[in-house]
Structure formats: C-alpha cells, structure tokens
C-alpha cells in the first residue's frame, strides 16, 4: 500500500497520506459520481490513498450526487450524515465500513489541501 501515493482522478490530484481518524480501519471504498464509478479509496489504518481502479473488489461504494459533494466529503468539509439526509451521498455494501471512512476523514484528510490543486474551474 505504501507505494500508492496518489492519483490524478477526474481532473484532481488526490495525494494519499495520513488520516488520523481512520486508525484501525482497513478496506477499499469505491467512489461513484452520478452513477459512474470513478476511483477507489484504499484505506490502511491511518494511511489513505485514491487509486483509479473502478472494477476491482471493494467493501463498499459511496455514491455521490456530483463531484462537488465528493470533493467536500473527501476533504472532510461536509458532514456525511447531512449529505445522506439531503440525498447528496449514499452508501451501499458494507455501510459500517463506509461510515467509518467518511467520519474518519472529518478528523483530518490528506485530501483537504491537495484536492484544490487540480481544480479545473
């Protein structure tokens, strides 16, 4: 896992790194925007990275309404429960794992700084 440092996905440079809120959490979370899989989040304890894989195994899938919602959730800026209530994001599969990841990124996300670098507005 340590080799997977980050990827250019959907126009953004998502560098992996330390996420202290994910301590003890392991697995793969598929990311899907507007119904299309776009990448996979690989979580290994406090280390998290995004890889462009869209067909390999995943423990759960998070379905984002649009890219803006994905960006905010991965950066830990949007409360995942509120996103769910407003139908902006949903979890399928192992929702316990997905909830742990989304809540863990709220504590501190390696994407918080990097996610803006590749913005193509």
């Amino acid at each position: 896992m340590a080799n997977e440092s980050g990827e250019h996905v959907r126009g953004h440079d998502w560098r992996g790194g330390n996420a202290p809120g994910l301590a003890g959490v392991y697995g793969r979370l598929r990311l899907s925007v507007a119904g299309k899989p776009v990448a996979t989040l690989v979580v290994e304890g406090t280390y998290v990275a995004m890889i462009p894989d869209i067909s390999g195994p995943a423990d759960a899938t998070v379905l984002f309404a649009d890219e803006e919602v994905m960006r905010k959730l991965l950066k830990g800026e949007l409360n995942p429960f509120i996103a769910s209530m407003r139908r902006q994001a949903r979890l399928a599969g192992d929702r316990g794992f997905g909830t742990r990841v989304m809540m863990g990124l709220q504590v501190g996300s390696p994407f918080a700084a990097d996610a803006n670098k590749g913005d193509q507005s």
């Binding site: 209530m85 139908r87 949903r90 316990g96 504590v107």
Partner: protein, 677 residues
C-alpha cells in the same frame, strides 16, 4: 401515547391514527405516517356515503398491523346499520391498507367512498414545537398514482399513493362511486410509500405486499421463542413478560451500518437511535435477548465521536446521544447529525461492554472494540472532566444543545432543595458512579483480555480514588444522602432525588452511606408505592406530574432495585420490583415511559403522565431487569448465579433456557414465607 390513538410501527416507520384508523393531524393530535423523523401523511380520512364510520372494535394483531371494525351509522339509536367497514393496515416503509365495505341489507346500495389525503411533511421537531415549513409542498397525479411531495433545495421527501381500483383521483384524495349489491361487499387497497433519504436505493426491485408478507410474523415468533420461557404463578407476570418481549421486538431498529438491530428509544417522539436509551435497554434485556446488546455496542462504536465540534457537543471518544434524519437536522437548525450531548453514554457503553462479555463469554467483541473502549476511557479524563476537579461534568457549548446531559435531560431537573436551578457545569452524582463502575469493569477487560495489566492497575486505582473523593465531596451530612450534583460553583445541589439509587447500581457509595440512602429511597418521600419518584415529595421543585421532578420512571426504579440487590438489600429490592410489576399489570402489561408520582395511598392505580411515550424502550426493559433482580441472576464469567428474593404475592417464578456463557440454563425461585426467611 394517548389511549385515543392506535399505533403500528416497524423500525423508524410508524403510523399513529385515531381509533377509526383516520389520520387527522392537528396541533394537539400527533397523527401521521412517520419515517426518518418526517411526517409523510398528516391526513387520511375515510368517509362512506358522506359519513365517517363509527368504530366498533380495534384488533391490534401485531405491532406492525391492525384491523379496525366499523359501522356506517347516523348514530340513531335502535336503527341497525346495514353497512360495515373493515380496514386492515400493515406498516412497511409506508403502509398498505385494504378497506372492505359489506352491505348487509336486502337492497343494493350506491355509495360515494372517499379518502381524503394530505401531507405537511413536518419534521418531528416541528410537530413538537409547532414550527412553520420553509420549503415548498407539491402534488401531482400521474398514471393513477398520487404523489405528495416536499422540496427544500436538495432535501426531497415524497409520499406515493396508489390504489388497486380506478376511481376519481384528485390532489386531495380518492373518490370511488360504488354500487354494492345486497348481501355483498366491495373492497379497495391502497399502497402508501414513503420515500425518504435513500429512496432511489431502497426502490430497487418490486415492492412486496406488506399485508401478504408473513416474514415479520415468523420473525416475531422466532424472537419470542429465542428468549427464555417464563412460567410464573402470579399470572399477570406472564402477560407482562410477553408484552415486554413483543414491544422490544417492535422497537428494534436497523441502522444499516451494522448487522442486527438495536432498540430505538420510544414511540412517537424517539423512534431514533439514542445512545443512552439503547445502552440501558440493552443492559436490562441482556439476560433475555443478548443479541440486542451486541448490535448496540457495534453501532454506537462506529459513530463514536472523532473530533471536537461545539455545535454537536462532540469530543473525541464520546458516545452519541441522538441521531435524527429530518429536515431541521439536515439544514443544521438542530444538531442531531449526530448529537453527542450526553455525559453518561460513554461510561454506559463501557459498562455494557463488560457486562455483555461476562454474561455471554464473547471476548471477541471486547477485542474488536478495544480501540473504541480506550477512546471512551480517554474521553472521561480528557473531556468529561472539563475542569480537572476529578469529576465528570457537562455544559452545552451552544444554545441548540441540551441544557441537561444526564438522563434527566429536561431543563428544570437539576435544582436545589428550595427549587432554585443549579448553574452549569453540572456534575450529577450518578455520572461519577458510572465512571467508577466503568473504570473497574475496564480494568478487568484490560487485565484478562487486552493483556494490559498496567492499564488495569491504573484504572482500578483511579476508580478507588474517585470513590474516596466522591464519598467525601458529595455527601450531605445534615440530610444523610448524596447531593444530586455539584454545580458550576462546586456547591452541593441538595435535593433528594432518585439519582442516589444509581449510586447503588454502580457501587460507588460507601456501605454506611448506602444504608442511609436506602432509608431515603424507601421513605414515603421517594417511594410512591408504585416506584421511586424522580424527586422526593419533600423538595421545592417536586411535582407529581413534572417530567423529571416527581414522576416515577419504571426504568429508573428497575436500576435502583438492581442496585439494592448489589448492596444486599433483598427485601427492599423485592418491594420495588413488586410495585413496578403491579403498576405494569394496571397498564395492561405495558409500562409507559413515566407515570405520576402520586402516592399509592391516594390512588388505586398509577396515574398516567400525559405525554409519555409508549411503548418506550427502557420502560419495556424494566420488567426484564426486575425479573433478573427477583431471581438474583448474574454471571461470574463462567456460571449462572442464582439468588432469588421473591415477595410472597409473586409466588413461584421459573425462567427456562436463559442464554449465556453456560449455553442455556433454567432458574427457579419461590417466595419464602416469613417463617422460612
């Protein structure tokens, strides 16, 4: 719940109607179809020939389905009605209803059958607090389907209503022009679907008929069959026990984030995940349905707080108070996403974890949740004790938070004997007891399962230091009981309350001080004859129908009785247990959340509290903990311990097939006559 309403429920979906089966929500009638803290139907009124049928009887077949038997009558005495109506309703992510009209007359009849429908899509908080909507209501008719909807930005909720018969469909309901031959019947079925936050995911696949589906009947049968079998010579106890098991089944709540279901708090206001309620109910029911406890622990661990957030009173390691899913939470007018304003849930989580492991022998869950348990322990010292005075205290960070973050969470519950409110932060006494108990219990887990003797020694030492400190700082020598709390100025809040009973459950009270507290608990001021009052009748704030300042809460009394057993007060525990069960019998087997604190000498029955939830999880769990107390059931981690103390009127109690680390065991107990005792 009012006796004038009928409720059916399944998970977070529930329907509250009048006894006709109609929903007619008003500021004073909280009727409706509710899902995820939103009312999806506020109007559902049947008229037959322009008349609202009169109820003959209501058959509550199961917690999720009901039948209403009605007659169409003008009310004229001595004139028999020739038209009867049977409404069959079953809840399932909405509900399904069949209306059958029978013409018992000798002539055919032409009728207008009208169903008036509407929805206000009120958030439960709006229903409670009578607030106005911000977004837009809409409705449309398409292909025989009526859709009622509400939109506020991307918050969309819809109610989709279909009937199996063609009629005139309007935005306010359905009209059928019906001709029923003599001695014949006509029927129509409606499918009402509530589309909540996961609508697009939950709609995958066809919707099955709730009325035809027998899986929930079978699931309920399996649930009851899986619990121990009770044979009691005092017959009402058999009924109370079964009702408790069925109501617990009804309150099971699938969060979807972990396997299994945990108990939701209560109908109608608290059909949601509440940390404290789920934890205490799981504790009460552990000896009977331990699977509830495992689901509760795992679900609460996943949503354990990870960061500081003043709006949500969130701090790392804290166990949540409440999750809500309605509009006001979605737009952050309320903080329940989730809200962490409970100062006791974190300790109760640790207490339950150890109790569960000792009862079931499931040490894997203790290893699985070690990280969360350590985070919870860290919260106690790092955040719970806000000012480092050695006690856990609470104070909300923002006005949207709860003023009181102990189980007595109404605004006026923490008051001095003269009725003056205690300023915050408040360190209520039972919180300190829970810390003491949690640390000792976790010391065992650290020593025996986590292989961390240093942590075990530290926790045991801290617990004993806390006990010494507490017995010095909270004791009121002039009144001979423990203070309800230390207030923000470290003054002893000197009113006499049921909280002292929780100190017995936790074991923090010194023996001689416990003895003095027991005398208060059994005094006329605290013991009403039906249970322990939340506040003694001698205190300035006492009100027999004050939510936390004089009413009797069955769960509170059940934990106090359990605590009395811990300290060896068998007769006193039995007396309280008997009182609770006799109250339950008078409530037809279902204890409400709370009832009036009037003395038994004045009333031959416990007086209802007007807005009490029923069924309510920890009231439902109270008879179970009472049974455990009467039989003296405990576990040493290997064996079932049995030490009955049963009051004479209850006679003989047999509890068969008790699950635990021992597999399945039976327990028997009988009342001893005074000469045998």
């Amino acid at each position: 719940m009012s006796l004038d309403t009928v409720s059916i429920l399944d998970g977070s979906t529930f329907v509250v109607s009048d006894r006709r089966g109609d929903l007619d929500a008003t500021p004073t009638e909280n009727h409706g179809l509710f899902l995820e803290d939103t009312r999806f139907l506020s109007r559902w009124i049947l008229t037959v020939g322009g008349i609202r049928p009169k109820t003959l009887s209501v058959d509550e077949q199961a917690y999720f389905k009901v039948q209403f038997f009605e007659a169409v009558t003008t009310g004229t005495v001595y004139v028999d009605s020739h038209l009867s109506v049977i409404r069959r309703r079953c809840v399932s992510n909405g509900f399904e209803e069949t209306i059958e009209i029978e013409n018992h007359g000798k002539d055919p009849i032409d009728l207008d059958v009208k169903l008036e429908v509407g929805s206000d899509f009120a958030d439960l908080f709006e229903v409670k607090d009578k607030l106005a909507k911000v977004g837009q209501l809409y409705s449309n008719i398409n292909d025989g389907t009526l859709t009622l909807g509400y939109r506020r930005e991307d918050f969309v909720r819809e109610t989709v209503i279909k009937s199996n018969k063609k009629g005139e469909l309007r935005e306010d309901g359905f009209l059928f022009k019906v001709k029923i031959p003599a001695q014949a019947s006509w029927s129509v079925s409606f499918d009402v679907e509530a589309r909540g936050r996961r609508a697009d995911l939950d709609l995958v696949g066809p919707r099955t008929s709730a009325l035809q589906d027998s899986s929930r009947d079978k699931s309920l049968q399996a649930w009851v069959a899986g619990a121990p079998r009770l044979v009691a010579s005092w017959d009402p106890l058999n009924k109370i026990y079964r009702r408790s098991l069925v109501d617990l089944a009804a309150l099971r709540f699938e969060t979807g984030i972990t396997p299994g279901a945990l108990p939701a708090a209560g109908l109608p206001w608290f059909m949601a995940v509440f940390g404290r309620d789920s934890l205490l109910t799981s504790f009460q029911s552990l000896a009977f349905v331990p699977e509830l406890t495992a689901a509760t622990l795992r679900a609460l661990a996943i949503v354990q707080a990870r960061k500081e957030d003043p709006f949500r009173d969130s701090e790392p390691g804290k166990i949540l108070h409440e999750i809500r899913l309605g509009e006001m939470t979605a737009f952050e007018a309320r903080p329940q996403s989730p809200y962490y304003g409970a100062a006791d849930s974190t300790m109760l989580f640790l207490i339950l974890l150890e109790e569960y492991a000792r009862w079931t022998g499931d040490n894997d869950i203790v290893r699985e949740l070690e990280r969360e348990a350590r985070a919870a322990l860290a919260w106690i010292d790092n955040y719970g004790d806000r000012d480092k005075d050695g006690y856990v205290e609470y104070e909300r960070r923002m006005d949207t938070g709860l003023d009181n973050q102990c189980w007595k969470d109404s605004w006026d519950s923490i008051a001095f004997a003269d009725g003056t409110l205690a300023p915050t932060p408040r360190a209520t006494c039972e919180l300190q007891g829970y810390v003491y108990d949690a640390k000792h219990r976790c010391a065992r887990l650290a020593r025996e399962i986590w292989d961390d003797p240093a942590l075990a020694d530290r926790l045991d030492k801290e617990a004993e230091e806390l006990k010494q400190r507490f017995n010095r700082d909270f004791w009121i020598p002039e009144r001979n009981f423990f203070a309800l709390a230390l207030d923000g100025q470290k003054r002893k809040v000197d009113s006499l309350t049921s909280n002292i009973g929780h100190l017995l459950w936790s074991g923090i009270a010194d023996e001689e001080k416990a003895d003095k507290c027991v005398k208060h608990l059994m005094s006329d001021e605290l013991f009403s004859g039906w249970g322990i009052r939340t506040m003694a009748s001698s205190e300035g704030s006492y009100n027999p129908i004050g939510y936390h300042v004089g009413t009797v809460w069955p769960h509170d009394s059940s934990f106090i009785a359990w605590g009395l057993r811990r300290y060896g007060y068998r007769a006193e525990a039995a007396r309280i247990c008997r009182a609770i069960l006799e109250a339950a019998d008078l409530f037809d087997g279902r204890l409400p959340e709370a009832f009036g604190g009037y003395p038994r000498s004045k009333t031959g029955y416990p007086v209802e509290y007007p807005t009490a939830c029923s069924p309510q999880a920890w009231a439902t769990g109270a008879p179970l903990l009472v049974l455990r107390t009467l039989l003296g059931l405990d576990s040493d981690g290997k064996h079932l311990i049995l030490d009955p103390a049963i009051p004479e009127p209850l006679g003989r109690i047999e509890l068969l097939n008790i699950p635990g680390v021992w597999g399945r065991m039976d327990a028997f107990g009988r009342a001893l006559h005074a000469s045998e005792d």
